[in-house]
């Protein structure tokens, strides 16, 4: 288990604004995803854990070993930390074959043991066939597996992955997610994975730390975070595009229902624990949870189309609704032809689609 608390301050430079990293978290066995926009401090956190960067203050404890303690002046070198690191560009040694890369990592093991381990890992990561090739002679996916194998052969106590899916094609990304899910069972090493790809976060994440501007804005299971983002900034990371002001008119906890004043009309929503009648809420709505319908009715509202964006799964429409509220709707491919031709549309807001920002 890794427990970390760290702060690091960067003064404003000629070309950069000041930046503060101030995070505290712990991660157990399984994959913890660090999710957030570029420049939020995710990679810096990894670098501090691995010992490439030094925090200004804080404390990092890996299992029972102190890696860093600002007050006590402890700061172990990367060699002594037992953290495996998988780099964005894989960082395989270009002048060594895949096998030599693994042998280099395993050099501390006795010879016979080393030979056995290397072969075992080459087999496990399906690169035995390419073991004699140099990194520039193998594919991106093989390099990726090689670099994970190299990191794991030394049996680290913590595995750090920096944007491992970046630069891979979609099918290779799926392979990688499968691999990471399997490793979770096999190696039982706590894994921290940095990504700004929401697919990766959901595909492999047991837990999630949402980074925003040098802080952890929210943490929890990916699904739980998705259902109730803590702020507009976090919600936008998850693809929420519509933010609406609503007033609570009625609450019915027994049936998990509430009535809201929204878009100059009355809407049914889910029960919002902790809110009172008369409260003003900010609702966030994901474009793929709304439906375009043919006519008006309960929880429906008409809007004028102000823009269309073609997407692989259909069309994304931007609508203007009463109260000059902008609403974004994803229309599936089957419906997109008819929807795109119309100027005015009815949109249904299912109660479950009306998420609140957690206050």
């Amino acid at each position: 288990m890794i427990q970390a608390r760290m702060r690091r301050h960067f003064a404003a430079g000629a070309e950069s604004a000041a930046f503060d990293l101030d995070v505290e978290f712990e991660a157990r066995e399984g994959v913890t995803v660090m999710f957030g926009a570029s420049g939020a401090g995710k990679t810096l956190t990894l670098d501090c854990l691995a010992g490439f960067a030094r925090p200004d203050s804080g404390r990092i404890l890996l299992d029972d070993r102190l890696l860093y303690d600002g007050d006590a002046g402890v700061c172990l070198r990367p060699q002594e930390r037992g953290c495996g690191y998988v780099f964005q560009n894989y960082a395989l040694f270009p002048h060594m074959t895949l096998r030599e890369n693994l042998v280099f990592a395993a050099e501390r093991l006795p010879r016979l043991e080393r030979h056995r381990r290397v072969n075992e890992m080459l087999e496990r990561f399906r690169i035995a066939e390419f073991a004699g090739r140099y990194p520039h002679e193998v594919s991106g996916g093989q390099k990726q597996r090689g670099s994970i194998a190299r990191a794991l052969i030394v049996q680290p106590r913590l595995l750090l992955l920096d944007e491992p899916a970046r630069g891979l094609d979609a099918p290779l990304r799926e392979d990688l997610y499968d691999l990471l899910r399997d490793l979770r069972q096999e190696f039982r090493v706590p894994t921290l994975l940095v990504t700004h790809d929401i697919e990766a976060a959901f595909a492999v994440g047991d837990e999630m730390l949402v980074y925003h501007d040098g802080r952890i804005a929210q943490r929890g299971k990916p699904r739980a975070v998705l259902n109730q983002p803590v702020s507009e900034a976090v919600a936008r990371l998850f693809g929420y595009d519509t933010f609406l002001e609503a007033e609570v008119l009625k609450l019915n906890p027994a049936e998990d229902r509430s009535t809201l004043r929204l878009l100059s009309g009355e809407f049914q929503g889910p029960y919002y624990p902790g809110s009172l009648i008369g409260d003003h809420l900010t609702l966030c709505v994901h474009p793929d949870e709304l439906r375009v319908v043919d006519d008006g009715g309960a929880n429906r509202c008409a809007g004028v189309v102000t823009g269309t964006v073609e997407r692989p799964g259909g069309v994304r429409l931007r609508l203007m609704m009463p109260g000059s509220a902008g609403v974004t709707v994803d229309v599936p491919r089957a419906q997109s032809q008819t929807a795109a031709e119309r100027k005015e549309l009815w949109v249904e807001f299912p109660p479950a689609a009306l998420h609140t920002l957690r206050k």
């Binding site: 930390r81 495996g84 002048h95």
Partner: protein, 255 residues
């Protein structure tokens, strides 16, 4: 520079005399008796260049590593001093070296205490001159090469538990091998061709400190066209050969 050299030789009148004597007798150490050509300067040049290049290589890589990886006070000064031999006129550098390793200097006295002979006006002094010329070539190239190695490779090696020493020998150095080979070849060639500085601190003693470059100058001056042509051709061939070999190595070591 050439105008100065006879004056420089004149600084050691006894040796000049010795040279005239040996010249007239045409005594060589190791050439075939029926050949009029004296090959000693060539062997001396190759030996001096070889030793000087080896010393420059070791020192140059060490200095490059220090300059690239450590930050300390006076790093800029060290950097400038190391580069100086490239920019100073050879005679000026020679003068400084003469002062630095002369009989009365600490280095000269240390040398005398260790080897019971003086350093200036020996072939070892020619090695010093060539080394001082070779080091900046190696430092500049090696430092640029060391800094160009992908930082993540070094980081990766560290997370895998490699010591800085192992990291340097197994990762950083092999990755910079090509640049360093190229710089070593340049240093060797530079050392073969050194004239001014060598003349200043090693003198021009045939059979002892007369390197090929100096012998060519002497031969031309004394109208010995045959010796001059022979040495020029051999030096050219050797230099071309080395450059060809280095280029070949660069293309075959590609990993």
């Amino acid at each position: 520079m050439r105008q100065h050299s006879p004056n420089q030789s004149g600084r050691a009148p006894k040796r000049l005399l010795a040279r005239c004597v040996t010249d007239s007798r045409q005594v060589g150490d190791n050439e075939l008796p029926n050949m009029a050509l004296n090959w000693f300067p060539l062997w001396l040049s190759l030996r001096v260049a070889g030793i000087a290049t080896a010393i420059s290589l070791a020192t140059g890589i060490f200095l490059a590593y220090v300059l690239a990886n450590r930050s300390f006070r006076g790093r800029d000064v060290l950097d400038a001093v190391v580069t100086l031999p490239l920019t100073l006129p050879p005679t000026v550098l020679g003068y400084y070296l003469l002062v630095a390793i002369g009989q009365r200097s600490p280095v000269g006295q240390m040398y005398k205490w260790l080897f019971h002979s003086q350093l200036v006006f020996t072939w070892q002094a020619a090695v010093v001159a060539s080394t001082v010329h070779g080091i900046p070539l190696l430092v500049r190239t090696a430092r640029a090469a060391l800094l160009s190695v992908d930082h993540n490779l070094e980081r990766a090696a560290r997370t895998l538990g490699a010591s800085e020493w192992r990291l340097f020998w197994r990762i950083t150095l092999p990755l910079t091998r090509r640049s360093i080979v190229a710089a070593t070849v340049l240093a060797f060639a530079r050392s073969l061709g050194d004239f001014g500085t060598t003349l200043m601190i090693a003198g021009d003693i045939p059979g002892r400190t007369q390197t090929a470059s100096i012998a060519i100058f002497d031969a031309v001056e004394s109208g010995d066209g045959m010796t001059a042509r022979a040495l020029v051709l051999v030096i050219s061939a050797v230099t071309i050969g080395i450059v060809w070999l280095a280029n070949r190595m660069e293309t075959t070591v590609r990993g």
